[in-house]
């Protein structure tokens, strides 16, 4: 961490709390799956960015370190897009059952 003024940690905490409550509200609201997905993923990424930028001090580090930190996100997005055509080819959604073992309840 280069020398810098300390960010307002309680402010970051407050926004993380607000976003968490907003996420739960969205999860309960009767929205379409797509709308829910976009809102929830958007809010989760905002929360993750707040943690990375302020708690992990990425905002005050060199840009290159930020680029390195972002690579996993890009690679995972790439992985999802690589998986999509395969999933789109599933004609009938099937329930994948693992071999059932005797259940002891």
């Amino acid at each position: 961490m280069a020398e810098h003024r300390e960010p307002n940690y309680m402010g970051v905490w407050f926004w993380l709390l607000v976003l968490t409550i907003a996420e739960i509200v969205v999860a309960i609201l009767p929205l379409t799956t797509l709308a829910k997905g976009i809102l929830l993923v958007g809010m989760a990424l905002s929360k993750a960015s707040l943690v990375a930028l302020y708690f992990m001090h990425l905002k005050f580090e060199r840009v290159t370190l930020g680029v390195i930190a972002l690579t996993p996100l890009l690679i995972c997005a790439f992985l999802v897009f690589m998986l999509l055509p395969d999933l789109g080819a599933v004609e009938h959604r099937t329930s994948v059952q693992a071999p059932q073992v005797e259940q002891h309840r």
Binding site: K36, A48, F55, I68, P72, C76, L79, V80, L83
Partner: protein, 203 residues
Amino acid sequence: MSETATARLEPFESPLTPESWGKLGMWIFLVGDAMTFGTLLAAYGAVRFASADWPHPADVLGINMTAFMTFLLICSSVTMVKGLSAARHDDLAGFRRFIGLTILGGAIFLGLQAYEWTHLIHSGLTLSGNPWGASLFGTTFFIITGFHGMHVLGGVGYLLCILALGWNGKFNGHNYHPVEIAGLYWHFVDLVWIMVFTFVYLL
């Protein structure tokens, strides 16, 4: 002459994190770890998308307690930065208090997770099947939350070591990087939970 040669071989500063090599090491570890979690979550998405009878997570898992667990981890991240700040300002009492609170937050999180798992296992959710639908629901749930839980457990142990090392004032305004590096790990565990909470519990 020989001093110059040594300086050339062992640069005093790393280009990315001039103040500490350890920090760069931790960042590289976290990037790799993030890819592991990313792969697990992407696989979860793929399996869920291809399944016709995936249970609605909120009905099975319940989100009240998990929301509290999220709140707990967010608070423990704040106490972690406060602990680092105390170390940087030579405030030994503050360092002990805040790092102690961070460890406590992690330990309560683990306790709640153990309680949640026990409850779910008793109601029939196992690695190989469950009464609500797709059997992979339980498999992915236990693998993802379990992998994260092991990270929390590791973090609690890591922070206990940092607390023990710094109990008598080893960390101060001139030597606080070990605390900062432990903090990076702890915040990463919080960050991953934010994702797990969204994808596994809310969506």
